[in-house]
């Protein structure tokens, strides 16, 4: 197990370095010179532009820029933002916890709602409840999130005044974006849970449990749900990865000052060090979540063993 984790982490590191190189190259191919952009529409005198480029290190050949960047990054120094001159590390340190909070809240909402709906539908398979839940689930993944988010704002923030319209500090700020971000994951989780429940409920040991005269509730929750959870765990992990994408849109709808909003802003100003760091952190999260999911498997399903 320990060795397995070590191997996976090693591979993750390789992936990270490669991803950083990919983004590094993509950014420099993109039109737009960060130094030039400092001046808005009208260009400064050439000499001044050259000075600015030199000050940002953009006058160096690409390989040198990359080597410098990676060298510093490996020492934990992600450079300073071209725009604000703040250390990128501290910018991320400020933003990342917010996006993490948003994502976790969305995940909790999605899991609770999704599993509950899925279990209910699976247990009452064929009923109107089942049909209604599954219809809602298909609908849930079909509505564009920026549209859904706006509707939530109108109803719950402007209309009822329960939550705030925008912000990223208090729990009132987090609820609506988290629901928006979690809705499609909830739908997917509900479907998977339902399918797994249906599957598990036909198994022999459930029949045995029933024959033994155990209460339905005990059968469902003690025996069936535990086994049905295995595919659910994998899908929850996957959804968390997708949420890092979804956060880009949702954070912009709700003025939520997380990494997604930072990414868009940094991209518009071609603030290379910031974008690189955002990608690196997001990618690391994605990889770690996947690893965690795989490890959770072994806990839930004793049949799976990693050498």
């Amino acid at each position: 197990m320990g060795r397995y984790i070590a191997v996976r982490l090693g591979a993750a590191l390789v992936t990270l370095v490669a991803a950083s190189m990919l983004i590094f190259v993509l950014l420099r191919v993109a039109p737009g010179d960060p130094a030039r952009l400092m001046y808005g529409l009208t260009p400064p005198p050439d000499a001044q532009l050259e000075e600015m480029r030199a000050a940002l290190g953009l006058d160096q050949p690409l390989p040198v820029q990359y080597a410098r960047y990676m060298g510093a990054a490996l020492r934990g120094d992600f450079g300073r933002s071209y725009r604000s001159h703040e250390p990128v590390g501290s910018m991320i340190a400020e933003r990342f916890p917010r996006t993490l909070r948003l994502t976790l809240a969305a995940l909790v909402i999605a899991t609770v709602v999704g599993v509950a709906a899925g279990v209910a539908a699976g247990v009452r398979r064929g009923s109107w409840l089942d049909a209604a839940t599954m219809a809602a689930a298909v609908l849930g993944v079909s509505v564009p999130s920026f549209w859904f988010g706006m509707v939530l704002i109108l109803v719950f923030a402007v209309g009822l005044g329960w939550f705030s319209v925008a912000g990223s500090s208090t729990w009132r700020d987090v609820v609506l974006p988290a629901v928006t971000l979690g809705i499609s994951a909830a739908a997917v989780i509900a479907r998977v849970t339902r399918a797994a429940m249906v599957e598990v409920l036909t198994q022999d040991y459930i029949r045995t449990a029933r024959v033994k005269g155990l209460a339905e509730r005990v059968v469902y929750f003690r025996h069936a749900l535990k086994n049905a959870l295995i595919p659910v765990v994998s899908i929850v992990g996957l959804q968390m990865g997708y949420m890092l994408s979804g956060a880009i849109v949702v954070e912009n709808v709700f003025g939520y000052a997380g990494m997604g909003q930072l990414a868009v802003y940094a991209l518009n100003t071609r603030d290379y060090p910031v974008i690189q760091a955002v990608v690196l952190v997001s990618t690391t999260c994605f990889i770690l979540v996947n690893l965690a999911v795989d490890l959770l498997y072994t806990l839930l399903d004793p049949r799976i063993r990693y050498a």
Binding site: L37, M38, G40, L41, P43, M52, S84, A166, V253, Y265
Partner: protein, 558 residues
Amino acid sequence: MRAFLRTRGAAALLLVLALLALAACGGGSGTGGGDSGSQDGSSAGPAPAPGSGEEKGGTLVIGRTGGVDSLDPARTIAGPAHEVFRLIFDTLVRRSPGGGFEGDLAERWEVSDDGLAWTFYLRQDRVFSSGNPVNADAVVFSFQRMMSPEVPAAAFLGPVQAVEKVDDHTVRFILAEPFALLLDILSTEYFGIVDPAAVEEYGDDFGRKPVGSGPFVLKEWVTGERIVLEPNPLYRTSRSDVENQGPPHLDQLIFREIPQVETQLAGLRSGEINMITGLPAEQAVLFENDPNFRVLRGLGGISIAYLSFGMVPAEDGGVNTFKPPFDDIRVRQAVAHAVDMDTIVDTVLYGYATRNKTPLPTGVFGYDPSLGSLVPDYDPEAAARLLDEAGWTMGPGGVRQKDGRPLAINFWSLNMGSAPQMAQIIQNQLEQVGFDVEITLLDVATYVSQAPTGDLDLEMLDQGWPAPNILNSIVGLGWGVGLYNNPDLLDLLARAQSEADDARRAALYRQAQEVLLKDLALVPMYTATVPLVTRAEVQGIKFDALGGPLFHDAYVAP
């Protein structure tokens, strides 16, 4: 994202003041600073009952799109940053409400006969919010810092060579050549005076911990979410355009960053924010007749929206030429005839703009409406006639053609504010006289990198800057009218800038504009005003000479 990047500027002189105007609301809005009456604060709602003794205060929360990168004037010329740090720093001089300039941190100034030395005498009672005195050392320090080449605003200083301390309260600017626009430049907030002790203490972090002598101090900055300002208890001013000469009444002034306009609108309606700056005109107008809100006319009179034509650089480095089909002046005139600018100002900008047929903004020195007669009026029939004369005859599908080539043009603009709306209307009107128009809307980053080499035939831009050398920036872009290097024009602009006599300088700027308009190198459209929308409980907002909001007297009624 559409609205994130608000930088704009001019090299030799940026436009950032006006940034707000163009960027914040894009092509969007406004009646000009020319609307004098709307700028004196009288539009800011009923004045508080004088002497009522009520406790003024409250928290003013401003929602806007842009992100602030830094609050250090040496680091950024972006509009959203400027909108905040103008409240933290004071400048040597400021524009006076009646025109001209008056002392701010400086009490008075004098110019040497040769125009090469400007001496400023500082007020002796001004202190930074840290308690340190605003003295000659601080001023010299601030300007030396700004003159470093990696400071984006450095180029604005033009021929300024050095800033010297004469005595503790006197500084002298040494110029390489006379520079008539020095006061215009020094009055922009890019040249706010910073506390040297704070800069030394915080170094690169000064942009997050700015210390100045302005009405507000930075209390808290949650990046990407909010910037919280509080009154500077040591503040005092001599401004004649506000009643309160001491620290502002407000308990807090908060700038919230909310990227999407629709979310800002929701926040204003829910009461989470009580003011929005830079709203597109078509949004602001919706609040006009609602008693719960108030629409104020803010920054205006310093921007110019215009159409300009693609140009081809001359291979021998000589005079550049217009790109076909606009190499024929009749086709350029046809564009001016085809677009119904008056209707656009009235119905698309809902009057949050002043029709302006000259290259200079309505509120800028040298503005001369009589030059407008050089620009063709709306007259689609005349447009059709000119195109016929130029050999572009009507072909199939309503698209004109000449020698089998269709009259197809690429029309570029920025993907922000009302520009997309405006572009579609202009496209529609040009197509009615037989153009085939393809729109390209880009973010600023892509625009400035692709415009110099891209397939740009016609563009619509909105530039802002409070001084007449905005013309230098318009013809300094590096594409479109920015390639218009008519030697007469460049000579006139250079002479105007160093001409100390007002009348002669005005005449030179008039001639320069004539050159541009006679050649129809650009088609001026309008000068916008940025609307501010507040909730009704927000009281006492006044405006400076350019229409920038002043919060000295502001409070939020409970």
